[in-house]
């Protein structure tokens, strides 16, 4: 027993040596980045590349406030508790001025709670949960990516435009994102078309879909149209089974996020032609600013950008713009700078709303077609996020009083 205690004591000493304070370099401005690099790498690795590209570009142009930007990037192992611990480490040990990142909504929400309590700035890059800026929003949290509500509203509007389908079926993974996505879609569609009814709602477990049975259950409800929220491996299975069993024949089908390269490209020739989806048709966007981004990205990584890439890129552009506007790395000044901040991005101007800290970054809505054995978005249009948010009065009601 004695020896074991001695070893434990030695271990504690060694640990303090390894985990001690870092000498803080004063010649760079550090940004802490937290994301699930191992849980959903198909999405988070492009995100990381996007942030790296932006940092290169900003630093080559002379940095911000006379200093270079530096990212301290950490993997949260897909655990919210871990993310909170890392946030604390980034602020108190690495000396970052703010944190950004996260993909999973629950981790984004854990960091939101942390930021509000500790009065530290957090820019949520990718998590989609509506609660992040509304029900659970706070002064110190901002979000870049268009939320579940915004993307669902875009799809509902597009659906109402092309179809008079009355009977709808929904299928969404059984967790917060899926439920939010279905709830928002129903709300917006009903507002446009009060006569629609929802004949079945399917809730497969996330990444545990039993596609054959889900397809049969939807078929049995005989809907006119289908709204799909599944993604990743679930989407692949759902598309294949639905196609085999003729579920999509003669039915309008919508897919939330289905057009994002992360989810569409793995389907290759099986991509569900005719679906109306939100996504990112990077190959067809001809804006000069966007083309410049795509060229730089392909040159640096020999790979094409995904939605995560441009979100990562815009995240760091936003950080740099806020630092510039604040003229300081002080948290309170940065928060004030972020409120009402305008950022020029490859997707056009993005505005961080003062009212709820949501950015107005938009998304593309289009139809899936299969060309050369690959799924593509065609007939797409860019939707400005600002137009797909609830009224200010509603937002004020949802956001907690200060």
């Amino acid at each position: 027993m004695r020896l074991s205690k001695f070893l434990t004591g030695g271990l504690v000493a060694a640990v303090s040596a390894v985990w001690g304070v870092n000498a803080m370099a004063a010649d760079t401005i550090k940004i802490g980045d937290i994301n699930s690099y191992k849980r959903l790498p198909a999405h988070t690795i492009p995100y990381k590349k996007g942030t790296e590209l932006a940092i290169d570009m900003i630093n080559n142009a002379g940095g911000v406030l006379g200093k270079k930007l530096e990212i301290v990037s950490r993997d949260d192992q897909g655990k919210p508790g871990e993310a909170v611990k890392i946030a604390e480490e980034l602020f108190t040990r690495d000396g970052v001025v703010m944190i950004s990142g996260s993909l999973f909504s629950h981790i984004g929400l854990a960091l939101t709670s942390y930021a509000g309590q500790k009065k530290r700035l957090y820019l949520a890059a990718e998590p989609l949960a509506d609660a992040l800026v509304w029900a659970k929003g706070n002064r110190y949290t901002f979000r870049l990516r268009p939320s579940t509500y915004m993307q669902a509203a875009m799809l509902a509007e597009a659906a109402a435009k092309v179809s008079t389908a009355k009977k709808w079926a929904t299928i969404a993974p059984n967790y917060a994102y899926g439920k939010d996505a279905v709830g928002a879609f129903k709300k917006v569609l009903k507002a446009i078309r009060p006569d629609v009814e929802f004949v079945t709602e399917q809730w497969p477990g996330l990444f545990k879909i039993d596609a054959g049975a889900e397809v049969q259950a939807i078929e049995a409800a005989k809907p006119d149209a289908i709204y799909n929220v599944t993604f990743g491996g679930d989407l692949a299975k759902f598309v294949r089974e639905g196609d085999l069993r003729g579920l999509f024949k003669g039915r309008l089908t919508l897919g939330l996020l289905t057009g994002e390269p992360e989810y569409l490209d793995p389907l290759k020739g099986d991509a569900p032609a005719g679906w109306i989806v939100t996504g990112y048709p990077w190959y067809a966007i001809k804006d000069a600013a966007h083309q410049k981004f795509v060229d730089a990205y392909q040159k640096k990584f020999s790979d094409y950008p995904r939605i995560g890439s441009i979100v990562g890129y815009n995240t760091m552009l936003s950080v740099a713009a806020a630092l510039k506007k604040a003229g300081s790395t002080d948290t309170e000044k940065l928060v004030d700078a972020f409120e009402g901040l305008d950022v020029d991005t490859p997707m056009g101007k993005v505005h961080y709303r003062k009212i709820d800290h949501q950015s107005t970054m938009g998304a593309w809505v289009g139809k899936i077609a299969v060309k050369d054995g690959k799924g593509m978005m065609v007939d797409w249009a860019f939707k400005d996020g600002a137009k797909y948010l609830p009224s200010d009065a509603e937002v004020m009601k949802m956001r907690p009083a200060k």
């Binding site: 004695r2 205690k5 271990l11 790498p41 192992q77 854990a110 942390y114 079945t200 545990k208 692949a236």
Partner: protein, 620 residues
């Protein structure tokens, strides 16, 4: 009617895919008594290897050859794992192999990411079976029928192998009495490797065969793990027929569940398993485990001892050192060490039921997360102050343990473990799906400490007092008369009963006590993080605790403390590297092989060596 028949076929096709993988797990467990956590990883490798092979070998022959290639390759990988990782530790304490196979999971995850990249690889359709056939007017994918046939062929093949061939008879004999078989001159080592090859082969085939229905992706390994364990346990560990029937039962019920109760998808199979286990404690086709016939082949554990005076001094010194942490002025260190102390308490509470009581729980996170949620719910809905919420957390978790324990303690061994897992999953799904109250997946936010403890340094002292206090109480409880009685039930339930003690009651009370202490750890956790999510009740959290306990050493009261500290620090340190899972996995395998008694066991080994040396000299 036609529709229900088509649904039945869908269910049977799902069952077939599940059966292929689960039968392999069942065979491996039946003979070697190894609970192979890495079975899901073998399944994932099967899918990836088949995918690669299909890009090289096109056409009908290429497709089926690829499935065979995947099976053989994975069989080989399984054999390598058995020879390199498991063979050295067959003599370790029961279920210690969990740790090593957990390391294998981590290694394979990162290797697959390195080799095949992060994106899902969508499988091609089976040549010749791309379409559907109409059965009573309902469309049924023809490949579904192929899967059903494949499963039946495998079932018959395994039945033939195990009943009609000499090898099969030897394997069955080894399942019943390994020592006798080896005494009769059968090379047990070769037998085990062969069984592993067969089990891994089936997992590989299972992964490859599901490609036409989906993709090869990095989430497959953990995704299949819970379902195959459920199938194997529901059917009865080691029973092929049981696995087949259970796979059919669960898959078909799942299909009808989706049709009529779309919200039931998360929890249905666990409820089925729980019901089966409560009625038939050894599964549908399983046989009662013979008393004392567990995986352990090593010598019986040494009794726990009280600390000697110098040990007490060292503990006091360590605690004194821990009080200095906030004085370093680095908030992060207070946060990190608070985490470690919380995990130590969590691991120590699991060790109380596992190490002292000899009951391996796979669902201990139910009480840890449960405690966290009890505290959070009181804060949110009753405005309870932190101080009171921290007292309610262990009470609430203990209450949950009282109910769950009542069902679980009637079972033993792996069945006990799986019933705790099922109960934990049911609790998890309640928290996960009851949005209005628990916030569901979005969790409960803004559960911060009272104002006086809001500084990380101050909260750290609170964690130190309650956490270290909790660990010391757990330790002391192992040395009370109740602790002795509990150790008695672990070492010989029969003798304990014979001297008039109520074994089940003692185990039940120990389960409640361990649950309550885990709840205290959960309560401390929620105020440290400010939020709580269903992840804290997940299977993965239960497994983390298991790994900590086994890594530290089951047979020592210091084990869980050492395991939790080392595991948490390693994770914190290694996760800074890109391929940290690979490093962590290799390190865990390394530790498992070198120190089969865990970290604390290693200390005893060293001491034994040092202690013996002078004695040998003195006795010429």
């Amino acid at each position: 009617m036609a529709f229900y028949f088509a649904q039945l076929l869908t269910g049977m096709a799902n069952a077939s895919a599940l059966f292929l993988v689960a039968s392999g797990l069942s065979i491996i467990f039946g003979v070697t008594r190894v609970v192979n956590f890495s079975h899901g990883s073998l399944y994932m490798l099967g899918a990836y290897i088949a995918y690669s092979s299909m890009t090289v070998l096109p056409g009908i022959i290429g497709f089926w050859a690829s499935i065979l290639v995947a099976g053989l390759a994975v069989g080989l990988i399984g054999m390598i794992i058995e020879v390199c990782v498991l063979k050295p530790i067959y003599k370790a304490p029961e279920l210690f192999q969990l740790v090593a196979t957990f390391g294998v999971i981590l290694v394979i995850q990162d290797m697959a990411l390195l080799i095949w990249g992060p994106e899902d690889l969508f499988g091609q359709r089976a040549p010749g079976f791309e379409g559907v056939v109409e059965i009573f007017g309902e469309r049924v994918p023809s490949y579904d029928l192929v899967l059903i046939v494949l499963a039946v062929v495998v079932l018959i093949g395994l039945w033939y192998l195990f009943t009609k061939t000499r090898v099969g008879i030897l394997v069955r004999a080894a399942t019943q009495d390994r020592e006798m078989v080896s005494a009769l001159g059968v090379n047990q080592s070769v037998l085990f490797s062969g069984v592993f090859f067969l089990g891994a082969f089936l997992a590989g085939i299972g992964g490859a065969a599901q490609l036409p229905k989906g993709s090869a992706n990095l989430l497959m390994d953990f995704g299949i793990l819970a379902p195959i364990f459920v199938v194997v346990v529901t059917g009865g560990m080691g029973s092929i027929w049981g696995a087949f029937v259970a796979a059919m039962l669960i898959s078909v019920l799942q299909v009808y569940g989706i049709r009529f109760l779309p919200n039931s998808t998360l929890v249905l199979m666990f409820i089925v398993m729980a019901v089966v286990l409560v009625i038939r404690p050894w599964g549908l086709f399983g046989k009662p485990e013979a008393a004392g016939d567990h995986g352990s082949q090593g010598p019986p554990p040494k009794p726990f001892r009280q600390l000697d005076p110098s040990g007490r001094i060292i503990v006091a010194v360590i605690i004194a050192a821990l009080t200095l942490v906030p004085l370093s002025g680095v908030n992060f260190l207070s946060v990190l060490f608070a985490d470690i102390i919380i995990f130590c308490l969590f691991a120590a509470s699991l060790h109380y039921i596992l190490g002292v009581g000899g009951l391996v729980s796979f669902g201990h996170a139910a009480f840890y997360g449960g405690g966290a949620y009890v505290a959070a719910l009181f804060v949110q809905y009753a405005g309870t102050p932190m101080e009171l919420a921290l007292m309610l957390a262990p009470l609430g978790a203990g209450f949950a343990a009282l109910i769950i324990g009542w069902f679980c303690v009637r079972l033993t061994g792996v069945y006990f473990a799986m019933l705790t897992l099922a109960c934990a999953q049911v609790l998890w799904s309640i928290v996960f799906q009851w949005d209005e109250v628990t916030g569901g997946d979005d969790g409960m936010l803004s559960i911060w400490p009272s104002a006086w403890a809001s500084e990380p340094g101050v909260y750290y002292y609170l964690v130190l007092v309650l956490g270290v206090g909790g660990v010391l109480v757990l330790r002391a409880m192992a040395h009370t008369p109740f602790g002795y009685a509990l150790r008695g039930t672990r070492d010989s339930a029969l003798r304990t009963e014979a001297i008039g003690m109520n074994v089940k009651l003692i185990q039940w009370m120990a389960f409640v006590f361990a649950g309550a202490m885990a709840g205290l750890a959960g309560g401390l956790f929620v105020f440290a993080k400010g939020s709580v999510f269903p992840t804290e009740m997940e299977i993965a959290t239960s497994f983390d605790a298991l790994i900590m306990v086994f890594l530290g050493g089951v047979q020592s009261l210091t084990g869980p403390i050492a395991g939790a500290s080392v595991f948490t620090l390693l994770q914190d340190w290694l996760s800074r590297f890109e391929y940290w899972r690979l490093l962590l996995g290799l390190l865990i395998i390394f530790i498992a092989i070198l120190l089969p008694g865990g970290l604390a066991g290693a200390v005893d080994q060293v001491k034994a060596l040092l202690g013996r040396a002078p004695k040998d000299e003195a006795a010429p």
